[in-house]
Symmetry: C2
């Protein structure tokens, strides 16, 4: 990188123009490639810009064009595995298209969400990607004419762009796998979320129906992972219902279940086979490895970013809602029922 000493005043387009002996408009045309500029002058301008260390002022451009090359991202927690991988996918795609990502999180707090949305609005973003917890931020953004892409919500109502994981299919495949391995009494641990967990439950049921196996309702535990007594509930399920397999349809529940196994000396697939939803690093470190449904979270981010970019490009196209497919990773925690 050449040019530009520690001067206080940043180099502006006017400086470059002056240096090359042209007007600012010619300089502008040369530096962002649109409009006619004679090759000679273009070259001189490019050289001058380089030598002076010219960096365009994004604010000035945004002010004039009324839109920036920034896409806002609102997630509940960047530090979580989900948030991190999502953000990574988004950022990667954005960067390839020469857009910037401004990332805001709310610590699961509605007020923060709205505040974040307003802060993003102030930057006149080309779009905003958000994982919706509350409808208010999306509504605010939309009301101000900002295009929104929703992530990980049930196949969107069609009013907005959205990308979601195919929770139902993931759960179905895991269940199909167990059924195909001869399991008939499969216990299900699933969260109590309206959308996500309901879809996983549907997948579990669908697999049973397809196999013409009746799913015993007593084997199904809908329970938040942070609820009190989760461990006891899991233990109870194991003891009383004696399932041949356990499907933990949530990352945290899988973790709890594994802890219960450890505590009671259960070592899948002996006694029970074990399948988890949401593959995590620990699942391949434990012995045996845990068979799990792996979620393409980063791909989810890429798709969301692609949608945002596409919409920025053409605001009139009809809303899309994408679905990304999880895959089952088979490890040692499952075995065929003899």
């Amino acid at each position: 990188v050449s040019g530009g000493d520690g001067r206080a005043r940043p180099v502006t387009l006017a400086d470059v123009a002056r240096d090359a002996g042209t007007s600012v408009s010619t300089a502008a045309r040369a530096l962002n490639g649109r409009g006619y500029v004679s090759p000679r002058r273009r070259e001189r301008l490019l050289a001058a810009a380089d030598r002076l260390g010219y960096v365009p002022n994004a604010s000035a451009r945004t002010l004039k064009q009324r839109t920036s090359r920034v896409v806002g991202v609102l997630v509940s927690d960047v530090g979580s595995d989900f948030g991190a991988r999502l953000a990574a996918g988004i950022e990667q795609t954005l960067r390839e298209a020469d857009y910037r990502m401004v990332l805001a999180s709310d610590d699961g707090d509605r007020r923060q969400q709205l505040h974040g949305a307003r802060a993003l609005l102030a930057m006149r973003p080309a779009g905003v990607i958000l994982t919706p917890v509350d409808p208010a931020p999306a509504a605010l953004l939309a009301r101000h004419g900002v295009d929104v892409v929703e992530v990980d919500v049930a196949p969107a109502d069609g009013a907005r762009d959205g990308v979601a994981l195919d929770n139902e299919r993931g759960a179905r495949e895991a269940t199909v796998y167990l059924l195909a391995n001869g399991h008939r009494r499969i216990a299900l641990l699933v969260g109590d979320d309206e959308a996500r967990d309901a879809a996983r439950l549907r997948g579990f049921r669908a697999a049973h129906e397809a196999a013409a196996v009746a799913a015993d309702e007593d084997l199904i535990a809908r329970i938040g992972s942070d609820a009190l007594g989760v461990d006891a509930r899991i233990a109870g399920l194991l003891d009383e219902e004696r399932p041949s397999a356990l499907f933990a349809a949530t990352g945290p529940l899988a973790q709890r279940a594994w802890q219960v196994f450890r505590a009671r000396g259960i070592r899948p697939p002996q006694a029970v086979s074990f399948v988890a939803f949401d593959d995590a690093p620990w699942m391949q470190m434990v012995e045996p490895g845990v068979t799990a449904v792996a979620l393409p979270t980063q791909e989810l981010g890429r798709r969301a970013a692609r949608l945002a970019l596409r919409r920025a490009d053409d605001p009139t196209r009809p809303p899309t809602s994408d679905l990304v497919e999880p895959t089952l990773v088979v490890r040692g925690s499952t075995a065929a029922l003899a």
Copy 2:
């Protein structure tokens, strides 16, 4: 949130002023609280802003003030555990101070790093936080008058603000713990990085010196975790040197070591005690749990953000370099030598 229907043109300060029957300058003073405005008018302006759904235009403000309320963050990988937690800490602190974070990553690619730095520069950020891989981006930024905070570099040379993990101390404490438990032949697995791993190695040595135990050089393996034959090297170390404890001073090496244990049926602390650097979720899921040095990565981020903010506030203060301390988490993989 009140006001503002789906109009195309965003509400500007002029609109608010007109609505309240004042001039824009009065409106400006009222809405950002500095300068005199009569209570009556202030109130009317606030009400008007609210009713109209006014959102200030950050670009206009930035253009005028020549600096934004944005802090740039350059990390190599947002999706990694380190990057994610760092970003989370930074974002949290920034948000509390009403600053925004624009996050860019380079996939370990120098060109991307420079490109990211330029993109940030264009936004006239109040500061940039980066995990330095290459000195060029920081230099570019600094040359253009942007304040830089470096993260996780050896206690900075004092030229710039910086926050680092106290790698030496973390390694020392882990080693002290093993020595205190009677271990004398402690094998060390450490990376070949110039700064970070060298510090950890120093810590290992320092602990030995303090305990007046000679560290056997044959027990020390400096090896990149991605090198070929890491597993064989680890196995060899175990077989040939018969250490009573193994200290894996890097996350990836710890993972490799654990895999080797699994493959050979070794179950710490039987045969060997095991300590890892960089506590990770899997370490509490495996049986037994792994004793590990936990790194306060999120705190690292908070500190970095705080430094950036402080410097934005006062550009003249002398550079600070902070050090954050890791803590040892004792689990079941270590035992006292009989």
